[in-house]
């Protein structure tokens, strides 16, 4: 030991929270959804998640080491979270090379281009996912039906997601009839996860458990998920009340598609969401609104991914103009 004293500015103690711990917390929160997806989609889910995580980590390492030449930080686990979330928004019958390509895009284009952890303006996993979706719409829009454990990779037979079914038939059939179609799963199935869809979006219950865990551990605050879900309920409810034969009910919008996955895990990504709680609420309302506009009026059945990316781009402006409540700013001393 050197007998010289250390000198540094205050504070001289530091809290226990670290970046790695936070990322670990997110992974734990994702575990229930992972269990559900393995139950319904079999080991294909494990393979895809594994490939995505592995390639995200490897790409991050390689880019950091050989292109950016920056201090290495792969062990902060953020690339693992990106990998898992990327996998969670892909269908299980996707060719593995697309998973690898998606990881490259997510990490390379979505994250490292901007300087790595903390610098990316857009959610990397969603960048990867939307890139794949726009480049390979065929592969990204065929959804395996859930079967059960031990389902082989690529052997699932495909069906449409509930949102896909509804989009196909908007204007052709009244919603009540669409809902009664054979292909359409019931609400209990939707809640538990027995429906066609991407890996991580199917189990509403599991996702909600993850959310409670993250709220409990103070990894996220309620503002973003609640404002997204609230907005979707309000808009879907409004449309539904005005014209129930042409619009699905709010519960349907809540349980289907990537809404919960997006609201709980992707919109809450620290790096790409606003900093102040007021900002977070505006951001959440924006995502909810855009999601519903896209779901209802655009050519695509699902809009969460686009909505989050668009609101990501507005985040710097929100941060610039929506400031936290300052102490002693608007004084109200009653």
């Amino acid at each position: 030991m050197s007998n010289l004293l250390n000198v540094s500015p205050s504070p001289h103690v530091h809290g226990k929270e670290t970046t790695v711990n936070l990322m670990k917390g997110v992974l734990i929160a994702l575990a229930p959804a992972f269990v559900v997806t393995v139950l319904f989609f079999g080991y294909a889910a494990i393979i895809i998640t594994g490939v995505a995580v592995l390639s995200c980590v490897i790409f991050e390492y390689l880019i950091q080491r050989f292109i950016l030449r920056r201090e290495n930080s792969v062990n902060d686990l953020s690339a693992v979270v990106t990998g898992v979330l990327l996998a969670f928004c892909l269908p299980t019958n996707i060719p593995l090379w697309l998973v690898v390509l998606g990881s490259l895009v997510a990490i390379g284009m979505g994250k490292m281009t901007f300087g790595g952890l903390g610098c990316n303006p857009f959610n990397p996993a969603l960048v990867g996912r939307v890139f794949l979706f726009l480049s390979f719409p065929v592969q990204l829009t065929s959804w395996p039906k859930p079967k059960g454990f031990l389902t082989g990779y690529l052997d699932a037979n495909t069906g449409a997601t509930p949102l896909g079914i509804i989009k196909e038939n908007y204007g052709e059939l009244p919603v009540s009839e669409i809902m009664a179609m054979d292909q359409m799963p019931g609400y209990t199935d939707m809640f538990m996860g027995r429906m066609a869809g991407s890996l991580g979006e199917i189990g509403a219950l599991a996702l909600l458990i993850g959310m409670l865990y993250m709220l409990w551990k103070k990894i996220i605050t309620w503002h973003i998920p609640v404002s997204i879900i609230g907005t979707v309920i309000v808009i879907a409810g409004g449309l539904w009340l005005v014209n129930p034969s042409e619009n699905a009910d709010p519960l349907f919008h809540l349980l289907t598609g990537g809404l919960l996955l997006g609201a709980i895990f992707m919109a809450t990504d620290y790096v790409t969401s606003p900093m102040s709680s007021r900002g977070m609420i505006i951001y959440g309302i924006g995502i909810g609104l855009l999601t519903m506009v896209i779901r209802r009026y655009s050519a695509y059945p699902e809009g969460v991914q686009f909505a989050i990316l668009i609101m990501n781009s507005v985040t710097p402006l929100i941060n610039m103009y929506i400031k936290p409540k300052r102490f002693g700013e608007e004084v109200n001393n009653g």
């Binding site: 281009t113 303006p121 809009g303 909505a307 990316l309 402006l317 610039m320």
Partner: protein, 190 residues
């Protein structure tokens, strides 16, 4: 409803910058600060709206009656260029700070293809005068939205450790690409 559709289509679905590729140079050049982009948006809205009105009149009262449609480009651009010159002269007097900030980009509004593009598209879509005006304003809003979002992003990048080779324009393009990707979500709305 018709006007709402025109607006939504021009602002989101066929955003003039992100999907029509018009006005890219000022988009890249002026989007460094939010304040200047707001000023630029104002200037573009002014020029674009007046230009669309004047070109509408030229198209319908000169070019069409005399059947000299091939003169569209040259007569439109003459009008636009003069307008921009006008704005420049006025701005220099009225708001010197904004004039300083927009600097070399004022002449760029002339060459802002967005202005000419919007005027020509309005003719191509056979809009009437009111529709043309709505269309011009919607396009300026679309331009402004893209510009201001980008200014926000770029001010944000200024506070981060962006890789040296990506600094400035390249990173803006990649971000624009990713935003354009997100805007594809609006496909099919109108």
């Amino acid at each position: 409803m018709e006007y709402i559709l025109i607006i939504i289509a021009a602002v989101f679905v066929n955003n003039i910058v992100l999907s029509q590729f018009l006005g890219i140079c000022p988009f890249i050049g002026v989007s460094a600060k939010v304040e200047t982009s707001v000023g630029m948006t104002g200037a573009v809205t002014f020029v674009m709206t007046i230009a669309t009105v004047v070109t509408y009149l030229i198209q319908h009262y000169i070019l069409n009656p005399f059947d000299i449609g091939y003169m569209q480009t040259i007569s439109f651009i003459l009008v636009i260029a003069s307008l921009v010159q006008l704005v420049e002269i006025m701005l220099k007097k009225v708001s010197p700070p904004l004039y300083q900030a927009l600097g070399i980009f004022l002449p760029l509004i002339t060459t802002n293809c967005a202005v000419l593009g919007a005027a020509m598209l309005a003719v191509q879509f056979e809009y009437n005068l009111i529709q043309s005006i709505v269309f011009a304003i919607a396009n300026s809003i679309g331009f402004g939205i893209a510009l201001i979002i980008f200014a926000g992003l770029r001010e944000h990048f200024d506070l981060l450790e962006v890789p040296a080779a990506m600094k400035g324009v390249p990173i803006s393009f990649v971000a624009a690409g990713l935003l354009a990707m997100a805007f594809m979500g609006f496909a099919g709305i109108a």
